[in-house]
Amino acid sequence: MIGGPQGSGINASAEVFAKACSRAGLRVYANIEYHSNIMGKHSFYRVRVDDEDVRSYKDKADILVALDQETLTGDGDHRRWATHYGHLGEINEGGGVIFDSEIGFDPATAKRPDLRFYAVPFMEIIKKALEEVGKGEQARRYEVMKNTVGLGASLALCDYPFDLVAEVIRSQFKGKRSEVGELNVRAAKLAFEHVKQHENAKEFPYTLKPGGEPKARILAKGYEIHAIAKLKAGCAFQTYYPISPATDESVYLERQQREYNLLVVQCEDEIASINMAVGAAHMGVRASTATSGPGFALMVEGIGFASITECPGPVLVMYQRGGPSTGMPTRQEQGDLQFALHPAQGEFPHVVIAPGDLRECYQDTFSAFNWAERYQMPVIVLSDKKLASVYTTIDKLELRWPDIDRGEVFTGTEWTAVDAKGPNDSGSQTGHNGNGNGKMDLANVKEYLRYAFAKDGISPRSRPGVTGGRHWITSDEHDPDGHITEGVEMRVAMMNKRMNKLKLLQKAMPQEQQYFLHGPKDADLTVLAWGSTKGTILDALKALEAQGKKINFLQCRLMRPFPAEAVGAILRSAKRIVSIEENYSGQLAQLVQEQTGVMIDQRINKFDGRPFSEDEVANALAKVYDGAKAEPVVTHVH
């Protein structure tokens, strides 16, 4: 774990270390906690490394690198209400603490006699590295290298090969910056040697060895995976308004614009973002946007608009964060499930899917474009802060999965694709507006109708500009032409047509993408959860299994249309059910109760803005397993 003020580069050193491990064949799970602040406030990065797959963080680290006093003891000394109490309590028995000797910390005050403390003269080391290249007087300019010094020092403790890290540092400073790279390597090496000479560094209990053969793995963050899935799925138009923690995805895509012929538009607000994407989707391009809760709150009218107009999109990646209102902009919460399910006025079809890890982020974001076009409705991919910023190893992305499916498209001038039969617009002389009382025989209509009642339930869309495919779209209720109607039969037929598409979609979607039962079929306790808690729960179950506890885990992924029958069947056969969610009220539990009639009485919730650790889930589940009542979890306070 490395902690320091924002702007001090803790993420750079954590990620260098993560890469050095991943390239050597190890599995990595790294996550950052940071404030909504540009510079100065406390942030920290955990890097968990193992030979086997790791999908969560643990409560305690083996080594802590502290770039400032606050990392050690918290902010209670300068804040009326302490935000945290430092990380000294989050170090394993006998672990090591490396800190900048300049801060003048007295280890005796830590009350952790089991820990080994290493006061490292960060600035002296930087100065020494600079002196070697004749720049000794510029040390303050290179203060940012403190993070590298911390990294080098920690490598000495865990006895990880220094060269593996040096190689990563060098690869990150190429060309003109290679000189700076060398300087960083040198500073890290000096710190490494400084700690190695330390009497106290011998026989440090926590060591790390490179893995076996380096695997063809990548280290990725969730926002990158969402973005790459969009690129691969043929997304041509992305809109956004800056908002944490969703912005990274759009900026990443913006960087790829020229290479991939993708247009990224920064909008004046999220209302513009969603509606511009709707305009693009209606024009026939695969369009998408990305936002977080406050932005989503502005977008809602566009979702209803896209749905009533049977727009082939857009795809919306929604990065949940701590709410309500501005809430906790950079913190984790699964608080927007019910909001995503019910975003706007009236009743309309849309898809909500919640991937559980990076591979699922890829699959669901990719599939979302197919569903959007085939079923002509907006698709919400419910991601979150944790998935967006987690930095983890992936074996192999299945980039060919699935194929591109653009749905039914009217391309020619011939009216052959569909059966135009439908109800008469009973209130209308001409079939429009409900002004008259005549009838219109739709069966005899031979021209293209955008909202025709097709045999398979989906009206082929046409691309504006195509000859013969001319049509209207309107946010009002409409007839097959796309003109406004208030006729009763037409209203009922159009509602049925739109809502029925959800059934078609659910029927066609692979089951494993809708829900998945992890673990033994027969268990004493069934965990019900969704989204980014997946990895944490799987890691915790592994630990609990070793203790002989028989627990399985029903992961719900497709939230709308909800696979009520299958989920209900699994839950009805479960002995006991407990939900685990990073929100206050148990929003999936509510959804399941509503959809299946199965009551979820035991709910483990966490709403402190931090994701569950493996230990928190394991401890909470063990208690419930042993018959205790589920209680809310709060991140280890002291």
């Binding site: 693009a280 024009m283 992305l397 001319r470």
Partner: protein, 316 residues
């Protein structure tokens, strides 16, 4: 905008849909609809290459009466949907329509945003000082202290100046016309469509049902002793709002200032082109960044065979 003239000349009828019209008799919207159709006919724009976007309100229904691809969107958001459409298919002629409440009230943020972008479309605002479809409340262009017959009290907020707002936002073509003079209106709309960039045509319009202040007779000056029109055409007074040299910042500032000054003239009210300048559009900037989009529109690009291997390799 690219205008492809078809083999057989298109007539006015080719731009009319067969939908029954439900505006009030004598509505100024009829004049605007006719003006738009006349302009489209003058420019011989193929209905299949035309995308007409609108907001919500009486004016929002306009696309349904025009033969072309019609997009009747949301209240205040017409410019956002139109921009998304325009940028996705730069081969189409894009028209955006809406009311004064739609564009200058609930949509004011998007009015400003569109001006900053200068994407290529013409935006026609039906400006009748009232919210007609909700039965005559004060719109953002009704001045403080005014009261139409449909309002229980005088307007407590002041009206905005659309021309000045358009100047400040960056529109590159700004004009005003009168709904009941469709021929002149058509000539202005045609110029707005031909203009490369965001063009605003603010159309002064009567609402015979709710606005008893600014009626046909009022515009004609029937109540004035000299019975003169309350409108005058800018060009007839020797005014020329066109910037001759867009690289000449001083000329541009002077023309903007002149346009704003004219926009505050209340009696008579100037109609015609207040301001016009040829500047690079949003599309031009996009084409510079992504040259492929200059060759064929986004919607025709093959984006389904992208090789993302280099991105993944960078994550090793």
């Amino acid at each position: 905008m690219s205008i492809n003239a078809p083999a057989k000349p298109l007539t006015l009828k080719d731009y009319k849909s067969d939908l029954h019209n439900d505006w009030c008799p004598g509505c100024g919207d009829f004049g605007i609809l006719t003006g738009i159709q006349m302009a489209l006919q003058q420019l011989q724009i193929e209905p299949d290459k035309l995308a007409v976007y609108s907001g919500i309100g009486c004016s929002g229904k306009t696309p349904h009466y025009i033969n072309g691809y019609g997009f009747h969107t949301l209240h205040g958001r017409v410019l956002t949907v139109a921009t998304g459409g325009r940028l996705s298919n730069t081969d189409l002629t894009v028209l955006a329509l809406g009311g004064d409440g739609d564009g200058y009230g609930i949509g004011a943020g998007y009015f400003v945003g569109a001006g900053r972008r200068n994407a290529d479309f013409a935006y026609i605002v039906h400006n009748n000082n009232v919210y007609g479809l909700t039965k005559g409340q004060a719109s953002p262009t009704l001045s403080k202290g005014k009261k139409t017959k449909s309002m229980p009290e005088q307007a407590i907020q002041d009206g905005i100046n659309p021309v000045a707002m358009a100047i400040a936002s960056g529109y590159t073509f700004i004009a005003r016309a009168y709904a009941l003079e469709p021929k002149y209106l058509a000539s202005i709309i045609a110029r707005a469509i031909r203009h490369k960039g965001s063009a605003l045509v603010d159309v002064l319009q009567t609402c015979p049902t709710y606005n008893d202040l600014y009626t046909k007779e009022w515009y004609e000056g029937a109540d004035l002793p000299e019975k003169r029109s309350r409108l005058y055409k800018l060009e007839e007074k020797g005014y020329d709002g066109k910037v001759q040299d867009p690289t000449d910042e001083q000329e541009m500032i002077a023309k903007k200032a002149a346009a704003v000054a004219r926009s505050y003239e209340a009696d008579p009210i100037p109609i015609g082109v207040y301001y016009e300048v040829e500047l690079p559009t949003y599309e031009d900037a996009v084409f510079q960044r992504i040259p492929a989009l200059g060759e064929k529109p986004l919607v025709e690009q093959d984006v389904f065979h992208r090789d993302v291997t280099p991105l993944l390799e960078g994550m090793r």
